[in-house]
């Protein structure tokens, strides 16, 4: 299967281990990711906050590049990018005057044909959970994980058209297929503070703190994410949250693709587990996985 790949700025930067593990896992599953040549930033959250048309144009240019590659579908591993691409696509499809203006800007017909999916969606809807289960050579038995979807992977439901926005299950099912044990917990689809880690750190300490506390109460040994913003907020601000709440968490924040790779037999180093601040390496090595 050939799918256009929109890594987004984070996967070329802070989330390089997400990029690496995503590519490894896709190759393993026979998905040929073709990175969009000359893609541009999706603009989240700055563009849509200050200039709606700009945000749709940024997305439309990327969707048009996919069309030029003769590919039908683009996948975005980052929930923020997914949300912006999907929103741009929705606007082009439902707002004719916007579509016309944007077509003039990108000098191409509005790319309404291109389908947008997030990476988790690609796995559960295109590959299928049972096909993934068959590839598991190292079941992640006994690992208690909090599947964290965050706010934008499933929202708004009207636009995202993926899973359920309040009690999503796809990541839980995927983790189960890997042999792990997803916990039942409260904050799987609440917000961690998104793009405010640098500009309004207090917001992330408040919202991210609620997420960490909920995962702790549910008995999770790690939180599994599908978004670089969630990973960055919960990992890099965890120390500050611990100080703020007077509570040790020590919770690794892991990309789901890293766990897929681990279950498929790749090494911790290949999957970039060493790149995270609250490292899962000890937890995983204790179990003889490495």
């Amino acid at each position: 299967m050939n799918v256009a790949y929109f890594p987004g700025c984070s996967l070329h930067g802070l989330a390089s281990e997400y990029d690496r593990s995503a590519r490894l896992v896709c190759r393993h599953l026979g998905i040929n990711l073709e990175e969009i040549e000359d893609w541009n930033c999706c603009g989240a959250t700055a563009a849509h906050s200050l200039d709606h048309k700009l945000s749709v144009s940024l997305g439309a240019r990327n969707l048009n590049l996919v069309k030029k590659m003769n590919l039908h579908m683009v996948t975005a591993p980052c929930a923020g990018c997914f949300n912006r691409l999907k929103t741009a696509s929705y606007e082009l499809r439902h707002n004719p005057s916007m579509a016309e203006e944007v077509a003039a800007i990108i000098k191409a017909p509005a790319p309404v044909e291109t389908e947008v999916s997030n990476l988790l969606q690609l796995f559960v809807e295109q590959t299928g959970v049972s096909a993934i289960a068959q590839k598991v050579v190292r079941p992640l038995s006994g690992l208690k994980l909090a599947a964290y979807y965050g706010c934008l992977l499933t929202r708004p439901q009207r636009i995202a058209q993926f899973d359920a926005s309040e009690q999503p299950v796809s990541l839980d099912q995927l983790l189960q297929a890997l042999g792990a044990e997803p916990v039942i917990w409260s904050h799987k689809a609440e917000c961690c503070g998104g793009g405010y880690a640098a500009s309004e750190t207090d917001i992330v300490i408040d919202l991210g703190g609620q997420v960490l506390e909920a995962a702790r109460q549910a008995g999770a040994q790690a939180i599994v994410v599908a978004c670089p913003m969630c990973q960055a907020n919960l990992d890099t601000r965890q120390k500050a949250i611990e100080v703020n709440r007077g509570q040790k968490y020590n919770l690794p924040i892991i990309y789901f693709t890293q766990l897929m790779g681990l279950a498929f037999g790749y090494s911790l180093r290949q999957l970039g587990f060493n790149q995270q601040l609250n490292s899962a390496v000890t937890l995983l090595k204790q179990r003889g996985w490495g």
């Binding site: 802070l14 200050l50 709606h52 700009l54 503070g193």
Partner: protein
């Protein structure tokens, strides 16, 4: 301003002459955002679940109500515009399907265009710096963005230790990638509102 009970009182309490209000603001929102505020049931489900409502001066429900009553001034000046994290929980739960996040984007854009100073200066600055990066290179180099942001806000040592740790983990790249098609970028930004070139 907090009163004796510690409860924040709202600054815009004054008599609104309802019969003197036309429906231009609701119409404007309908045209721009495709949202009919008359469908609002005023139930408050948006506000109850809002990620940041604890630090909002005007709740999402009140935002919709103020649109109904044509109160543009408090809407463009409100702190909530800059405290909103765009998580979309409000609109996703709205029983009338009102896209409140889109309304917030629209109001923020309008306030910005009118030059109304953001109450959370650093949020607006962060957005501006980010757009500056995109305008120049088509992409964002996160590490550089954060360093520039901290320098601009005079917080020279904020996150310095964190930055060093992330650099050692191979998470911050010294160079940023650029896109080749500059012409596309120029056109995309030409159409967008003029703002000061980022230095």
């Amino acid at each position: 301003m907090p009163d004796a009970s510690g409860i924040e009182t709202q600054a815009f309490f004054k008599t609104i002459k309802l019969d003197a209000i036309d429906d231009s603001l609701p119409q404007e929102i309908k045209t721009a955002c495709g949202v009919d505020v008359e469908t609002c049931l005023e139930c408050g489900k948006c506000s109850g679940g809002c990620s940041n409502v604890r630090i909002f001066d005007i709740t999402p429900r009140q935002v919709v109500k103020l649109i109904k009553t044509g109160q543009e001034k408090p809407l463009l000046a409100m702190d909530a515009l800059w405290a909103c994290v765009s998580c979309q929980l409000c609109g996703d739960r709205c029983p009338a399907g009102i896209d409140i996040a889109r309304i917030m984007d629209y109001l923020r854009e309008k306030a910005y265009q009118k030059g109304i100073k953001a109450t959370r200066y650093q949020v607006q600055l962060f957005h501006e710096l980010m757009l500056g990066f995109i305008k120049k290179t088509g992409r964002v180099a996160e590490g550089q963005l954060i360093i520039r942001f901290n320098l601009k806000t005079g917080r020279y040592f904020k996150d310095a230790d964190l930055g060093r740790r992330l650099f050692l983990k191979g998470k911050i790249k010294p160079f940023s990638s650029k896109i080749k098609n500059r012409e596309d970028l120029r056109r995309i930004f030409q159409e967008s509102i003029e703002r000061e070139e980022d230095q």
